[in-house]
């Protein structure tokens, strides 16, 4: 057991835990944040994606020990921002949400991309989404959603 401290969705959290845990389990089991999902458990599908120091990581293969002192944002935290509103309106407009299981991860990927690159080309968007699998949409409507969000970003990114 060790003392863990990091910033979670904007608030500092401090608690004791075994260090050898996946961040995904800490978020879902300890903090009831079920936005990040387990789709594959091996860093392949991106359904578990969160932002760590504002960059996308797969929480299913991020050990808790590596999170100490960092800032973690899950979809629940991101959903209270202005940027989220632009992204979610874009996804709704293009039809980029079907079953929704990949969607929080896709939105996290979108934010991670636009945060570094506010005006990505289509190719750069596809690279940005390359670690997020979707089985329902065939991706094009999601790529269109990211384009739409970038277009409507207006200085937010």
């Amino acid at each position: 057991m060790a003392k863990i401290s990091f910033v979670l969705n904007g608030k500092t959290v401090e608690f004791e835990s075994d260090l050898n845990r996946r961040l995904l389990d800490v978020l879902r089991d300890d903090f009831n944040l079920t936005g990040p999902k387990e789709g594959c458990g091996e860093g392949e599908c991106g359904a578990c994606a969160v932002l760590m120091n504002h960059e996308i990581v797969n929480s299913c293969c991020t050990p808790l020990a590596n999170v100490i002192g960092k800032s973690i944002t899950t979809i629940e935290g991101f959903a209270s921002t202005k940027r989220y509103v632009v992204i979610k309106d874009a996804f709704a407009k293009t039809g980029g949400v079907q079953c929704g299981f990949c969607t929080p991860g896709m939105i996290i990927a979108t934010e991670s991309l636009l945060n570094k690159n506010p005006h990505p080309t289509e190719y750069e968007i596809k690279i940005g989404l390359s670690g997020n699998l979707c089985r329902c949409t065939g991706y094009n409507l999601i790529v269109e959603a990211v384009k739409e969000a970038a277009k409507n970003g207006e200085g937010l990114w």
């Binding site: 387990e38 789709g39 359904a47 065939g138």
Partner: protein, 698 residues
């Protein structure tokens, strides 16, 4: 107030916000107090029997649940009932379920599972397709034999497994309610399939089982009948232990043990006279795996598609379901049609090549037309817009010029075209004789509740049905309520399968809505309606005669590819699709379905590899089972043709499966065009392309 003009005009999907914000609860997200977990104990041999099982000492609060705890029947209720809930001692496939270990701490459960000792007596497994358990055959016209003196062209085609790879793995939570009632919440397509299976396994009354659909993260047929097995196992455990129990498969377990698309081998023969096909023979074999389940219906649907989008007057069709000692196969979007359409589309192409005619002209000359007889001597009663749809596809893709250019160039570029249909609704007399779908609309003051068992698994049923009812009643969509189906509150409107939901269930809901509209001044009431088959639909399942489907949706796919000369990898450049689904209840939703279905069809055709070795699936996770990513997917252009069907709401026909059917043959033909070699199996992997380039020599 949402003002809906044309019903097809898209609206924001009603469940977007909860899904995007992370608030939507899928079954793994649900927690209950005092919840226990379950691990499944599975066979480590392929075939044989269990001689003895020795469990370690089971601590207090932990339980073993197996066949001895089944108070009802130890058989999962599916179309053909041969799958046990827990095997007693016979093992017929690797990882066959033996028991559940249930308890509060997963670390303890994991240790206990590892301490179980099972002694088996192994037998020689069968992997070859030799044990035919279902055989069908039928003919039309003069059959095929009488033409055996003509020029005969014959080819055999093979398709492999396809894994649904829904991003949300399978799972349930089960819990006891008052008086021995068992409630199950799960990621499912068919609440009543699950309920009826559980009733049979528990041996209880109808009102003692309740099934609630959780938010579903993708299904594609993989959650059509498999969940019934999982639900029965869990329900037996809940009935015994009387505590809430959660069982969620992790990806590896899901991939190794759940149902997949049936592999197939199809031999087609054509009798040729004057450069025309005067008779066709089709013989199909599919691999059911260790249990038959619904394999008979998969075979039937495949055989019904044996003449493709074409009319051929004389046919002899036969097929077999083979039993092997591999994981049982089951439903997957398309349900036998993708296998057959790959074969027939490639066959027509290969025949045209062999007899020296242009394949597109050849296909146009035999395209099915309104009033033609179907393969089972039913009638294509509705207009078929395929000639115009083909023209549209050719125009937007510049197909003819490209095909010609790519055939001549050494560039390894290619373009391919596929023509296909999908029979909407349950095959044969299922709707009338078996399902007998019922729906209810409940009006309470100014709100209307849609009470049906149809599941929204991403295909937008919640949005399209609320839209449908709001449009008919001319009220705000906010006044229409559609909660996740709960068998305590909704009648059995049938399973969410077979592209039947909008056409059939929506059709009944529309009729009910019209009555609600007439009675709108009444404060509160319930309208119940049942499926009424149009009188003209008559089908004899035993002889495969008559109208197998009430309606057909049609499609054209064109796919352009480039094959890498060094690595033989296939890059899909673009696709163009034209579909007739009658009428889109929401155009954006239909386009989404079209994109997603084509992505799966393409994956089936060139990318997704799954095979078994000695009964073990070799690709057991998302690392090894390769589905397309955003980088792999091509831009897609889709066009919808309106062709209203009289018995579908606003003219709607089936949508869900159509767009998967044509992807594999289109991409396979594009690759043929690029490399100038015939393709006989899918997926057309780089390894296979290399073999073809080396003329089968390695």
């Amino acid at each position: 107030m949402i003002f809906l003009k044309d019903i097809s005009t898209p609206i924001n999907k009603v469940d977007n916000d909860e899904k995007m914000s992370g608030k939507a609860k899928y079954v793994a997200d649900i927690k209950m107090e005092g919840m226990l977990y379950a691990f499944t104990v599975r066979s480590s041999i392929v075939k044989g029997r269990i001689v003895s099982i020795t469990y370690p000492k089971i601590p207090d609060g932990y339980f073993v649940v197996d066949h001895r705890d089944i108070l009802g029947k130890n058989i999962v209720k599916v179309i053909y009932e041969d799958m046990p809930v827990f095997t007693k001692n016979e093992i017929t496939y690797l990882y066959e379920p033996i028991s559940l270990l249930v308890g509060p701490d997963k670390e303890v459960l994991s240790t206990l599972v590892n301490q179980i000792e099972i002694i088996y007596e192994e037998e020689e497994p069968v992997f070859d397709w030799v044990d035919s358990v279902i055989h069908y055959h039928f003919e039309k016209g003069k059959g095929f034999e009488v033409f055996s003196d003509k020029e005969i062209i014959e080819y055999t085609y093979e398709t492999s497994y396809q894994e649904q790879a829904y991003i949300e793995p399978q799972g349930f939570i089960g819990y006891p309610e008052k008086d021995g009632k068992v409630t199950l919440v799960g990621s499912i397509q068919c609440p009543y399939y699950v309920k009826n299976a559980v009733i049979q396994a528990l041996g209880v009354r109808d009102d003692q089982v309740r099934v609630i659909q959780a938010m579903v993260g993708g299904a594609f047929g993989g959650k059509e009948e498999f969940p019934s097995l999982l639900a029965c196992q869990l329900a037996v455990a809940v009935q015994k232990i009387k505590k809430p129990i959660k069982i969620i498969y992790e990806r590896e377990e899901d991939m190794l043990v759940t149902t997949k698309r049936h592999p197939s081998r199809i031999t087609l023969k054509a009798a040729i006279e004057n450069k025309k096909i005067i008779a066709l023979s089709a013989n199909a074999g599919i691999d059911a795996g260790a249990n038959i389940g619904l394999s008979g219906v998969v075979l039937a649907r495949a055989l019904l598609a044996s003449t493709g989008a074409y009319t051929i007057d004389n046919i002899a069709v036969s097929g077999d379901v083979f039993k092997t000692n591999t994981v049982p196969n089951g439903a997957f979007r398309g349900f036998g049609a993708p296998q057959m359409f790959f074969a027939i589309e490639m066959f027509i192409e290969h025949v045209a090549k062999k007899i020296g005619v242009d394949s597109l002209d050849f296909r146009r000359s035999i395209l099915a037309k309104q009033n033609d007889l179907t393969s089972t001597k039913g009638i294509f009663r509705d207009p078929i817009l395929m000639p115009e749809m083909i023209d549209k596809a050719l125009e937007v893709s510049d197909y003819l010029r490209k095909k010609d250019e790519y055939s001549k160039s050494k560039d390894f570029k290619g373009i391919g075209l596929s023509l296909f249909f999908h029979g909407c609704g349950f095959t044969g007399s299922g709707e009338k004789n078996v399902i007998k779908a019922k729906v209810r609309l409940k009006k309470e003051l100014d709100q209307v509740y849609i009470l049906i068992a149809a599941v929204d698994m991403g295909q937008g049923v919640k949005t399209s049905f609320r839209k449908l009812v709001a449009h008919i009643l001319d009220i705000d969509i906010e006044q229409v309520i559609f909660n996740n189906p709960d068998t305590d509150f909704v009648p059995d409107s049938g399973p969410t399968v077979a592209s039947r939901t909008m056409m059939i269930v929506g059709g009944i809901v529309a009729r009910a809505a019209k009555e609600v509209k007439e009675r709108w001044n009444e404060a509160s009431f319930v309208v119940e309606k049942q499926y009424e088959q149009p009188e003209y639909i008559e089908y004899d399942e035993a002889t495969f005669t008559g109208d197998a489907y009430p309606a057909y949706s049609w499609g054209v796919n064109i796919v352009e590819v480039e094959v890498d000369k060094l690595s033989y990898q296939v890059h899909i450049k673009k696709s163009w699709s034209v579909y007739d689904v009658g009428k889109a209840i929401d155009e954006r939703i239909v386009i989404g379905q079209a994109d997603g279905g084509l992505a799966q069809g393409l994956g089936y055709g060139y990318l997704e590899v799954m095979n078994h070795k000695n009964g073990k699936i070799l690709q057991k996770n998302m690392t090894d089972y390769i589905i397309p990513t955003a980088m792999d997917m091509c831009p897609m252009e889709t066009y919808l043709f309106d062709n209203p069907y009289a018995y579908g709401p606003y003219g709607a026909k089936g949508v869900g499966e159509l767009s998967l059917i044509g992807g594999a043959p289109a991409v396979a033909k594009a690759i043929e065009n690029a490399i100038n070699k015939n393709v006989y199996k899918i997926p057309v992997t780089p390894e296979y392309i290399m073999e073809l380039m080396n003329d089968g020599e390695n």
